[in-house]
Each structure stands twice: as structure tokens, then as C-alpha cells.
């Protein structure tokens, strides 16, 4: 029952996709994640990461359809969204390496990367918790007379989280300028979407009168088109839209899986899932030379990002309570 209007081409208000730019973003995220996983294995990233590999088309396509002053919230698997929205890869790498030069000065790490200056209201470690925050920001933007739109990402697991469903209701009632992007990558950790979701993902939004579309989440341009329509609708104050982007997680749920190797999908299944690759789909849209040029640029960017991150200082333990209170209220230490 997906809304046919949303499956069609992007509304006239949205631009044509810039295929090279989309490819560039997909490539940046892919290589960022691969480098980050290496750093995890090298012990340079405390605690590991949830790699976004395979899902890059979603971040790339949706963010390309946003204006720079639009806002996003992200998830535990958030590197892709943060990079696609324009965060500096070096400061992002420094953040997940816990350095003072990181986006959050090393206080947030992989699951909390934020850059308020460019509209990134933060990744979030609690499944579904950012949906109302995004909706509040969207409402506030409209109150302030702006036509900004907020895009909020979450996984297939989040559509069973009460706060997300409550938020659908409020966003619909208020026609909040928010776009709900559900990345259905087939699994919540080890749990298959079908085993966790009664009914359908799009149906959950539609129940609240929110139009919803199922989108090919492996194709950056398909995502871009659907996002453009949803964003335009939000910008016209016509209310929220849900996009279910069907994608596949190539790598582990989290890097701990690389060692623990829980069995919940077969190698054949993974191969099948990887048979459609956003990098290849988008890459095929560019002349070979252009692609190679972008690839080289990205390598340089990441080389520099890793160098920047690893050369940056670790924060001083004496500053551990900095920023706890906005007004500088001093917390009592743990020993008198």
C-alpha cells in the first residue's frame, strides 16, 4: 500500500541527481568504514563500531536531497549519515578515535557524533530515541518561521520501539516537517525483520496518515528521488513522510562480531545480499576515468583523515566532566 506518488519521480522542485557527487559520497563512506574497521582491529578505536558498509546509498541519496541548512539525526550505525551530511572526515575519524580534535572533542565517539554547525543533531545509541528529537527540531524550525526540514534515520528494529510510533502520531498531527528514513537492512542485530515486524514497515506510518514508500536502498539515485519528494512535501508544510529504504548490511552488526561470529545468516545469504552494491550501481553511472579520479581523491582524504586522527591528542583526564552542565555547574567529584 505504498503511496504511488512517492514511488514515482522526484517532484519538480527537487534537482536532478549529481551522479558523480553521489558516487563520491558512497565511496567516501565505504572507504571510511573500511579504514575505521582496520583501526578497530589495530586497537586504535576504543570499543569498536557498527559498520555502515552496504547501506551507503541511503545516506548518500537522502542527504544529497537536503539543503545545507536542513537537519538530521542519526543512529548507532551513523558514520554514513554524518559524512553524507558534510562532516569533515578527519574530525569524524578523530572523534571515533577519541581525540580532542574530534567532532565532539572525543566525548561522543562512534555512536554520538554530532556537528550542530552543519545540522547534524547527533547520532544516538538508543534505538528509536532520536525520532522525537528530530520531530521537536522540525517543529521548532517551523515555529521560527523557517522552512528547514529534518531527516531522521533509524533501522528496521526501531519500528517496534514505542517512542517511534508515538512520534509518528505527533508528527502527523502537527504536520511536522520531518522525513522518517527507515533503513531496512534485513536484521536488527541477529533478528530478522520478518520475525520482528508484524504487518509492514510502511503500514506502520500509514496507520497514522503518514504517506510511505518502499525504496530501493541500494540505488543512490532512487533514494535521492524519493527523498526529494518527501523533503518537498515537508518543506511545503504538508507533513511527514516515511521512506523504507531496503538495503543490506554487508559487514557485522558491530565489530565484536568479527571475533565472536554469531551465526544468524549463511555465507550464501550474505553473498546474495552483497550481489547488489551501491558502489557499483552508482559507479556504473560514471565514466571510468571520473570514477578513478574520485577514488583517488577519496583515498587521499582518508589518508589524511587517519593521519589527522592518530596525530591528534588524547583528551586530558582532568577534563572528564567538562560540558556536563551547559552553565558550568560543577559536579562533586567521586571522592571528597
Amino acid at each position: 500500500m505504498a503511496d504511488p506518488a512517492l514511488s514515482g519521480p522526484a517532484s519538480p522542485s527537487s534537482q536532478k541527481p549529481d551522479s558523480a557527487a553521489l558516487y563520491r559520497t558512497v565511496r567516501l563512506i565505504r572507504r571510511f568504514e573500511e579504514r575505521a574497521v582496520e583501526l578497530v582491529h589495530d586497537g586504535q578505536i576504543f570499543g569498536g563500531i557498527h559498520p555502515y558498509t552496504g547501506q551507503e546509498a541511503v545516506a548518500a541519496g537522502t542527504c544529497a536531497a537536503l539543503r545545507p541548512d536542513d537537519l538530521i539525526t542519526s543512529t548507532h550505525r551513523g558514520h554514513g549519515h554524518v559524512l553524507a551530511k558534510g562532516a569533515d572526515p578527519a574530525r569524524m575519524m578523530a572523534e571515533i578515535a577519541g581525540r580532542t580534535t574530534g567532532l565532539n572533542a572525543g566525548r561522543g565517539g562512534s555512536m554520538h557524533a554530532a556537528d550542530f554547525g552543519i545540522g547534524i543533531l547527533g547520532a544516538n545509541a538508543i534505538v528509536g530515541a532520536a525520532a522525537p528529537i528530530a520531530t521537536g527540531a522540525a517543529w521548532a524550525a517551523r515555529c521560527a518561521g523557517s522552512d528547514r526540514v529534518v531527516m531522521t534515520y533509524f533501522g528496521d528494529g526501531a519500528v517496534s520501539q514505542g517512542v517511534v510510533l508515538e512520534t509518528f502520531n505527533l508528527a502527523a498531527l502537527w504536520r511536522a516537517p520531518v522525513v522518517f528514513v527507515c533503513e531496512n537492512n534485513g536484521f536488527a542485530t541477529t533478528t530478522r525483520t520478518d520475525d520482528a515486524v508484524a504487518g509492514s514497515i510502511t503500514g506502520r506510518a500509514e496507520a497514522f496518515g503518514i504517506p510511505a514508500a518502499r525504496v530501493d536502498g541500494m540505488d543512490p539515485e532512487a533514494v535521492f528521488a524519493a527523498a526529494g519528494t518527501a523533503i518537498a512535501r515537508a518543506r511545503r508544510s504538508e507533513g511527514p513522510t516515511l521512506l523504507e529504504c531496503v538495503t543490506y548490511r554487508y559487514d557485522a552488526h558491530h565489530t565484536w562480531e568479527h571475533a565472536a561470529r554469531p551465526r544468524y545468516r549463511t555465507p550464501e545469504e550474505v553473498d546474495l545480499g552483497r550481489s547488489r552494491d551501491p558502489l557499483e550501481i552508482q559507479g556504473a553511472r560514471l565514466p571510468e576515468a571520473r570514477r578513478a579520479q574520485i577514488d583517488a581523491e577519496i583515498e587521499a582524504v582518508l589518508e589524511e583523515a587517519v593521519r589527522f586522527a592518530l596525530d591528534s591528542p588524547h583528551p586530558d583526564p582532568a577534563t572528564a566532566l567538562d560540558y556536563l552542565y551547559a552553565d558550568g555547574t560543577q559536579a562533586r567529584a567521586g571522592v571528597a
Binding site: 554530532a114 517512542v163 552553565d327 562533586r332
Partner: protein, 326 residues
């Protein structure tokens, strides 16, 4: 001088802050009809774009307030029942409270959570009678429990202006208080600054919220034999440890009366900090709800689990020099 009720003081603080700052808005269930009376008249005065009735979705609207606060608004949320904080607990303690530090100071979350009629509200039984302020002090969310109309006004105004999340508990037992005030003198009260309601030399009684009144009455009753100082911390986090230390410097004796559960309550925290760091010449005492208390419905049972004047009197006498005999 005008007689100001506690309830009206809360209402006035919100109205004054809404008047002063267009970013202040009110979220809650039935706030337009103002079923708690706290928001009476606000929708008429400020319009329904700033006074928003919510569906029964405490988690979502708490999170929405966080997002709005990050974007320049200053929402005040009214929760009709203390237990609704439990529904929104993740959004308050794990989201709103943590964003400033987690983002390296990129953002602040100026939201006020107001709970009118916290504690026992006479016959609302087990699920509606909690007084969970100590939970927020533990988490470290700024927490105020005003005892008087002027402090209700001043602390709520400060909470709304504060750049961090602040929970304001208005005890059911204080909602009916009235006092003579000069309205032009009503002013914000800083967080972390206690108030000595009665100066005394023998025993310091720290009383929380509506129990300040009880403490003052007991102090008068005992005035012949024990000279009681009544200290109201007004905010539980940050806490005016210095003010407490100064009082104990004089008295060296401490009793706390606190209408929350005994274990890990603010009463215990006050005793612990005093024992650790302050001048005490006798073992301190506290008067609280029992461990794990669930308030039963029947009136006599409900009353039996809340701290009483009688218990306070006995505790003061036990702590005072010579058992409070002169």
C-alpha cells in the same frame, strides 16, 4: 502585600517567563483546559501555538521537547502524575541530560519538567503517589523542590531560564500553601542555594519540600527545650553543601525529614555527606518513607508510610543534647 498561593505562584512564573521570552512554550496533557490549574489562562494569553495539548505519549513529547530545546525553544513540560517521569525516564536521563557532555558542549537542552502535586495526593494510591526526586539527584539532573509560594515562583522561573534540563517537583502537600508577598519582589531563586527558614543553635533540621512547614511547626513546639534551625536546600542537585556545613558548624547535630523512600534517598545523601565532611557531635537521624514504599490506598495506610511531625519530634529529641531536656 498580596496573598499568593503556591499554585498561583507556579502559574505566575510560567506566565511571566512566557511574557519575557517568546521561546518559552508549554507542553502537556490537558494544559489548555488546565486540569491541574497550573496552566490556567495561558492559552488565552499566549495562544495555542505556545500552549500545546499532547496525546498520551510521554516518551515522544519529552523527546520532542529535547529536540525543540536544541533548536532555540525553551519548553516546559507538565506531567500530570509523578509516575509519568518513569515513562519518559530514558528520554530525560539518557538523552536530555547527556547531550551537553556527549556532544562536547555543542548543544544545551533547556527543558523544564514540572510535576505539580508530587507525592501522595490523597487517595490516588500506589501508582500515583511517588515522590521520585532522589532518582533525579542520583542521575544528576538538576532538581528543585520548592517549599513556599515565593520559592515556587523563583525556582520555576530559574528552571525555565536555565540552559540545562531541570525537574521541578511541587509537592502535593505544598500546593495549598499561601503566603503574603510583595508581587514586585518575586524574583528568580538560584539553584544550589538553600534557605534557613529558622535560625537555631541546637539541632539542624533539613526539610525537603512541603516538610519545611512541618519542620517549622515542630521547631516552634519544641522551642522551649531545643533551639532548632530549619534548613531548606530548595534544590537537591546542585545542593547547597556549603550552607549545610555552615549550619552544622553551629549546631553539630542533624535530622533530615524527606518524603522519599529511605534507601538511596536524598535524606541518606545528606547524612552521608555530613558524616563524611562536616561537623557532627552526635549521630544524625533521618525521617523518611520506608524502604521500597508503595503507598496503599486507604487513608490510614497512605499516611502511615509518610514521615510525620511526631516522628520528627522524636528524632530531634533523640539527637539533641540530653534528649532535648533542659
Amino acid at each position: 502585600m498580596t496573598v499568593l498561593s503556591y499554585l498561583k505562584a507556579l502559574n505566575r512564573a510560567i506566565a511571566d517567563e512566557m511574557q519575557r521570552d517568546p521561546a518559552v512554550c508549554v507542553f502537556g496533557e490537558d494544559v489548555r483546559a488546565a486540569v491541574t490549574n497550573v496552566t490556567a489562562g495561558l492559552v488565552k494569553r499566549f495562544g495555542d501555538a505556545r500552549v500545546l495539548d499532547m496525546p498520551i505519549s510521554e516518551q515522544a513529547f519529552t523527546g520532542i521537547a529535547t529536540g525543540a530545546a536544541m533548536s532555540g525553544m525553551r519548553p516546559l513540560i507538565e506531567y500530570q502524575i509523578p509516575a509519568l517521569l518513569f515513562l519518559a525516564f530514558e528520554q530525560i536521563v539518557n538523552q536530555a541530560h547527556k547531550f551537553s557532555l556527549m556532544t562536547g558542549g555543542q548543544v544545551s537542552v533547556p527543558v523544564t519538567y514540572l510535576i505539580p502535586s508530587s507525592g501522595s495526593r490523597d487517595g490516588w494510591a500506589g501508582q500515583h503517589s511517588d515522590h521520585p526526586y532522589s532518582l533525579f539527584a542520583h542521575i544528576g539532573v538538576k532538581t528543585a523542590v520548592p517549599a513556599t509560594p515565593a520559592d515556587a515562583y523563583g525556582l520555576l522561573a530559574t528552571a525555565i531560564r536555565d540552559d540545562d534540563p531541570v525537574v521541578v517537583f511541587a509537592p502535593a502537600g505544598a500546593m495549598g500553601r499561601r503566603e503574603d508577598v510583595d508581587l514586585s519582589q518575586l524574583a528568580p531563586v538560584p539553584l544550589g542555594v538553600g534557605r534557613v527558614h529558622r535560625v537555631g543553635t541546637d539541632v539542624t533540621v533539613v526539610a525537603i519540600g512541603h516538610l519545611v512547614q512541618a519542620a517549622l511547626e515542630v521547631a516552634e513546639e519544641l522551642a522551649e527545650t531545643v533551639d532548632v534551625e530549619v534548613f531548606d536546600p530548595r534544590t537537591l542537585h546542585p545542593f547547597d553543601w556549603q550552607g549545610l556545613a555552615e549550619s552544622l558548624e553551629r549546631t553539630g547535630r542533624l535530622v533530615v525529614i524527606d518524603d522519599s523512600n529511605r534507601s538511596c534517598g536524598i535524606g541518606g545523601e545528606i547524612l552521608a555527606t555530613a558524616a563524611e565532611e562536616m561537623h557532627l557531635v552526635a549521630p544524625p537521624k533521618r525521617v523518611t518513607r520506608p524502604d521500597g514504599a508503595v503507598l496503599p490506598f486507604a487513608e490510614g495506610l497512605d499516611r502511615a508510610l509518610q514521615p510525620t511531625r511526631e516522628q520528627l519530634r522524636t528524632a530531634i529529641q533523640a539527637v539533641a543534647k540530653n534528649g532535648g531536656a533542659r
